[in-house]
């Protein structure tokens, strides 16, 4: 038995070491939040000397409130994009799951096959297209494109397949219209999958850097993920306000971590579905 308790100890040590490595950068960030500029320059890795929240105050007023505004932009865009994506995808999923119609099979297969094609292929034509119709530097360009999310549609359809047809048929016999059957019967039944899909869509939108980086250059419409790196650019300011950059990271990462602690299973399921690897 002695050997087993030794190997148990070794396992714990190994896992604890890995946990420490996983937490370390987050610790650096959180300790940076409470430090002053001179403190961070002298002692970047150590514990802060006081727990003052002054950096948050400075961050709100930084660059005439652009951080707060960009945070609002990100939440606004994420919310509308997610709502639109879930709306379009669940409607399409409903049709694919519960109706037999001409072309449904090959259309579905075609959509599945396109999941292989990276979105970067279309990015250049989309840029040209949006510059022509004046969509650059707007909220619309962040909300509407890619609302036809094949992955979301597939996830919702899988769930809808498992719902009993009898339920829908009884609604029709009672005189419900097609749309009514969808909104009042199907939609409530699918709440768990809709919630999970919405979370994954929202996360990938909120965390996205590439798309808004290309399409939005005007500070009024930029989401926070694009604003954060510009804080450390050396062009306008020679001294990077590192404590403010860390505070900025904290205001995006800490809500994400809290969300993750509450909804661990949804976050981890995204991995095994094989859709999002950020």
């Amino acid at each position: 038995m002695k050997q087993s308790s030794l190997s148990k100890l070794l396992l714990h040590c190994f896992i604890l070491l890995m946990c420490l490595l996983a937490i370390y950068p987050v610790y650096i960030m959180i300790s940076g939040v409470f430090k002053t500029a001179s403190e961070i320059a002298l002692n970047p890795g150590g514990l802060p000397s006081s727990l003052s929240l002054k950096n948050f105050e400075r961050l709100w007023s930084y660059n005439s409130g652009s951080i707060l505004r960009s945070y609002g932009n990100a939440l606004f865009v994420t919310f509308l994009h997610t709502a639109l994506t879930i709306g379009l995808s669940s409607m399409a999923a409903f049709a694919f799951a519960k109706y037999r119609f001409r072309g449904s099979k090959w259309m579905f297969l075609f959509l599945m096959a396109t999941m292989m094609i990276p979105m970067e292929l279309g990015i250049t034509p989309l840029y040209i297209m949006f510059s022509r119709i004046g969509w650059l530097n707007t909220y619309v360009v962040q909300i509407i494109p890619f609302s036809a999310n094949v992955f979301a549609m597939f996830m919702i359809r899988q769930y809808m397949n498992s719902i009993d047809n009898a339920l829908l048929e009884s609604a029709i016999i009672d005189g419900a219209s097609h749309l009514r059957t969808f909104t009042s019967i199907m939609f409530p039944c699918c709440k768990p999958v809709l919630g999970a899909t919405a979370l994954l869509v929202a996360l990938s939108k909120f965390n996205d850097y590439l798309w808004p980086k290309i399409m939005v250059t005007d500070a009024a419409h930029t989401p926070i993920m694009v604003i954060l790196p510009t804080m450390s650019e050396k062009t306008d300011i020679f001294v990077i306000p590192k404590e403010l950059v860390m505070t900025g990271c904290a205001i995006v990462i800490i809500p994400l971590i809290i969300l993750f602690i509450c909804l661990q299973n949804v976050f981890m399921s995204s991995v095994t579905i094989g859709s999002v690897k950020g």
Binding site: L11, A92, P118, L121, K242, V252, I261, K277
Partner: protein, 290 residues
């Protein structure tokens, strides 16, 4: 549903918005980009057809080969250590030795994956900063990690690895769960020790899972952009030439208005992704048949 037979158009109405959005924002741009990759187009004036010259130029451009090599480096040099570590973690978490506390470890280990890439890159930027960085203050130097030609790619790699462990861990955990515990029971009765059952049962049975992780990781490494752009980027948002991947090159061309060239880069990335995933798939398949 049979009851809907008379109104044949109903399902089409349901899919119409989705299909419309899909056509406008995905199919049309993709087809257009294929055409544009054979043209020179600065965004105004006429589209000048130049045949395969864009592709020719890219394939004769040393920076492309550097970026491709670096992408392969990011992929392989990350995959091997990260797989070893996260497979070990998964086996540990799965084993009964750790007990119930593994429920606490798992989310902690997955947490880096939850941290937004942009913010993680900024944190790593502070850790490896040349003045007042954590590493430099520990060692008492002022080395410019993220600007160095040899070291900046290691910093990017370290960050990708840090974020990746949680992802791989969950993949391997789900692979381990799918193995029938009776096999271990049988092996134990036959006198196999823990190491033997790990290498002779777990590893061979996990082949499909490793394959899945390898392909997914190849695709995401080939398409990596944000890590290099934020960690080593300059004011324009283009990654430093010593750390950039293929997608960073596409963006550089897009930013400077070489639209035909940018499209050609997109198709080259796509072809590489297809070839790599096919090659892995086929080689693993052949091994299985043999």
């Amino acid at each position: 549903m049979r009851l809907y037979k008379r109104q044949w158009y109903i399902p089409y109405l349901f899919i119409a918005p989705f299909v419309l959005s899909f056509l406008i924002f995905f199919v049309v741009p993709t087809v257009y980009s294929f055409a544009l990759s054979f043209a020179k187009y600065p965004g105004y004036g006429v589209v000048k057809w130049i045949g395969t010259k864009n592709y020719y130029n890219i394939l004769h451009y040393s920076r492309f080969w550097d970026a491709l090599g670096r992408t392969m480096f990011y992929w392989i040099a990350k995959f091997i250590p990260v797989t070893v570590i996260s497979f070990m973690i998964a086996v540990c978490l799965k084993s009964s030795l750790l007990g119930r506390i593994s429920k606490v470890y798992k989310p902690i280990l997955f947490m880096p994956q939850v941290c937004a890439v942009t913010a993680s890159a900024l944190i790593f930027g502070l850790i490896f900063a040349n003045q007042g960085g954590v590493i430099n203050s520990l060692t008492g130097t002022t080395f410019a990690w993220t600007e160095s030609a040899t070291w900046s790619k290691w910093v990017v790699l370290l960050m990708m690895g840090w974020r990746g462990v949680g992802w791989f861990m969950v993949v391997y955990l789900s692979g381990l769960t799918s193995i029938n515990p009776e096999i271990y029971e049988a092996a134990r009765i036959d006198g196999a020790n823990a190491a033997q059952s790990l290498f002779h049962i777990t590893v061979p049975l996990m082949k499909q899972t490793f394959l899945f992780a390898f392909i997914m990781d190849a695709i995401s490494s080939l398409r990596m952009y944000t890590e290099a752009a934020v960690l080593t980027g300059n004011a324009g948002g283009n990654a430093s030439a010593v750390a950039e991947g293929l997608l960073n090159l596409l963006m550089t061309n897009l930013n400077s208005g070489n639209f035909g060239m940018a499209c050609a880069y997109g198709w080259i990335i796509f072809v590489i992704v297809c070839v790599v995933s096919m090659a892995i798939f086929v080689s693993m398949k052949e091994k299985e048949d043999a």
